[in-house]
Amino acid sequence: MPDDAGPGDGAGCKSGGRDSLLKDYILQLKGITKEFPGVKALDNMQFFLKRGSIHALIGENGAGKSTLMKVLSGVYTPDTGQIILDGIPERIANPIDAERKGISIVYQELSVFPTTTVSENVFTTNPPKNKAGFINYRKMHKEVRKLLDTYGFTDIDEKATIRNLSVGRQQIIEILRAVKQNAKVLILDEPTSALTERETEVLMEIMRTLNKEGVSIIYISHRLEEIFQICDTVTIMRDGQYIKTLAVENTSKDELVKYMVGRDVVYQYGAGSNEIGEELLRVENLTYKKEVKNVSFSLHRGEVLGLAGLEGAGRTEVLECLFGICHAQEGKIFLEGEEIRISSPEAAKANGLAYLTKDRKNKGLYLRMSIADNVLAANVDRFTRKGLMQFQAARSSAMEYREKFQIKTPDVDKKVSQLSGGNQQKVLLSMWISRKPQILLIDEPTRGIDVGTKEAIHRLIRDFAKQGMGVIMVSSDMPELIGASDRIVSMYEGRISGQLKLEQITEERIMAQTSGLTIDTKESET
């Protein structure tokens, strides 16, 4: 077990017996710690990759998987720890350095260049050149053709423009780019989150081929199914720490879920403390493109409804359909039993809805403007008398909420960009709660916010619901979901995959439902 082989120090390379043992590992990460202001993203983390292995790395959102991979690919420099590549301790300065040393990474977000050709994307940094130093397109296309044929993509034209390919195909081109670097270690960070089932199959086929050629692969995925299909080893991490490494054949999904959760500290954000009243909002069969499929649920007065799911499960889109930003193809929305149509954010506002985006800097706040102006912007209708702007009223409203929400700023004329993340979120809350809406839609209410302010924001949300209003909260933060939700609706790939009442909520159940494992948990429940 790598567990036992792990804690040896790298200096021991010289002793003969140990040397042969360590050679078994193409990559060893030891004692990696990375701290960001206020968060320990990685805490004495270790990871051992066997030569020729397909090794899964799993953990909840925010467990530190991506940070670890960024350390490995040279995006971050670790505060402490050692990276041993093929038996030699290495310092990885930057992503180009990582590639040179044989570590390639395919990120979750696509990083292809949409307007250029397939060939140009495979050869981004090192295109073949002729003697004069000009790009040799003939040679480039020929090599890419060969590469595509090798992996069975005879139908992809090497001269096609990237943006005309499906997202899955684009992802494949990205993987081929990584392959082209002659990688010893290939890291795939949630490559399948945007892929269809077919494309996932194809991807797995590529992984197997590569693996046969001797490439060792680190595979990050939330879909536990896939790990059992393709990986031989799995490492679980939680809160930036190493938990366990297991052979896939000796484990089960339930065991993996158990290791992924199991937190010591339980946060309490007031779940279950409000009186739940009559139905306030009901959504029936909401369908939006491929993002939201047949979604139905209801929200009651006084309730904070948690919407759980993985990144890309369609939760944000549900909120945006409710707020009239996305236009649902099908489905009905009932407010207090009466059907309403929400065609635009203005209509949503008029019906007493408020929406706080997760992308508060780009889609919520006006960073370059003052706090008072921000509050005014969401309330232009309320602060207009006979067509004239009531600056004084807006200003005193901003001051009132500065007091109420304890926004730390000397005055409301300060630019929002100068506030901390937590205070910015409080400004966003002021903008919308000062409208006295009936329903608050809030996406990732405390992402990137320190623990102290987190509590304060949850107290505000709870107080808001207590007045007989309703809150729908999308969150990827497990303690937050559990600590703040009176009820949880889970989504998986656009569909509702389960509901949990207050007394049913456990981390294991949420994890199972949001990974599409509903059937398994039902079995284990009985």
């Binding site: 954010p345 006006y366 403007m369 232009v380």
Partner: protein
């Protein structure tokens, strides 16, 4: 360090920050520049402060300001309009053709203004409904209506307008102030008040500062864009109609180059092409500065082309200062 020197130091650094603050406000910088130039001219050229010369400067800047006022509001919301020059020409030609065809003065003026509004609405349609970027959309209409304008007048200047029409601007005045200058002042003050106090127009700052946030805040961006482009079109046409009344004829080159002159003045006055910033006062000062430079060169009989050199330089320098200020604040 003794308490005394501490206080002195604080006093000095306070003075310095106050000075810095002043130089961070574009309007004040341009105002100082305008004053500097005016004082220099007053001391060095006896004709400068005469009523006649002030009137010349006023008339020179009037049409630019009439167009620039609502263009400023639109640009604050992030929507530029390059078609104003062609619009000004095209609308004026329609007005002139109607006059020459024997229609009454009010009908002819209304016809010209209507053309302006239609071109404005077309701009808004292309931007909102066809989702073309404002810069590209209005460059398209700029070129199109330049051509249309020249076609309808066969590239020949229009003249022989009724005397009553010419007299509107040539003779008209209020308390001795020429009508062109009066219109300019009314438009400037009105636009300034609208932008500051009327909710609908004040939304320009929100839209320009962050369009996505504005949309999610429930601000009707579509309506705003339509109204503003139609207003810009209306005032471009008004500038055109007033011009041909003033000249008594409509030269084929009417309105050409106006768009770049006005937008340069806006940039000098502190409007940002990225949106979210600017004021009517800044625009007024920018246009005034340009008029003063042109006037100074004429009075001293210096090569008029130097005007372009100076304006170009001032524009780049003032925007560069702004960017430097912004970087420092970050």
């Amino acid at each position: 360090m003794s308490d005394l020197t501490k206080t002195q130091n604080r006093g000095r650094s306070n003075a310095r920050t106050v000075l810095k603050r002043i130089f961070e406000i574009r309007e004040i910088v341009i105002f100082l520049l305008v004053m500097l130039l005016a004082v220099f001219m007053a001391l060095n050229h006896q004709q400068f402060l005469t009523t006649a010369n002030v009137r010349i400067i006023g008339n020179y800047m009037a049409t630019d300001m009439i167009i620039g006022a609502f263009l400023t509001i639109s640009l604050i919301a992030g929507n530029t309009d390059f078609s104003v020059g062609s619009n000004m020409g095209c609308s004026a030609f329609v007005c002139g053709l109607l006059l020459n065809a024997g229609y009454s003065i009010p009908v002819s003026i209304a016809g010209g203004l209507l053309v302006g509004c239609v071109i404005g609405a077309l701009n808004a349609f292309i931007i909102v409904n066809l989702k073309v970027l404002p810069m590209i959309a209005t460059m398209g209409t700029w070129m199109t209506f330049k051509g249309v304008g020249l076609m309808i007048i066969n590239s020949r200047a229009l003249s022989n307008f009724p005397v009553a029409f010419k007299n509107i601007v040539q003779e008209g005045s209020v308390f001795g102030i020429p009508i062109l200058i009066v219109v300019m002042l009314i438009v400037t003050v009105t636009a300034s008040l609208l932008l500051k106090y009327v909710s609908f127009f004040h939304q320009a700052y929100f839209i320009g500062s962050n369009k996505e946030s504005a949309r999610i805040s429930g601000i009707n961006v579509t309506k705003f864009v339509y109204v503003l482009y139609i207003l810009i079109g209306f005032f471009a046409a008004l500038a055109g109609v007033l011009s041909i009344s003033r000249y008594g004829s409509a030269p084929a080159s009417l309105g050409q180059g106006v768009e770049f002159r006005v937008i340069s003045a806006l940039l000098i006055g502190g409007v940002s092409l990225n949106g979210g910033e600017g004021s009517i006062a800044g625009t007024f000062l920018g246009i005034l500065l340009m008029a003063l430079i042109a006037n100074a060169l004429t009075l001293f009989a210096v090569d008029a082309n130097l005007q372009n050199v100076l304006i170009g330089a001032i524009m780049v320098i003032s925007v560069a200062i702004d960017e430097a200020n912004r970087r420092r604040q970050k």
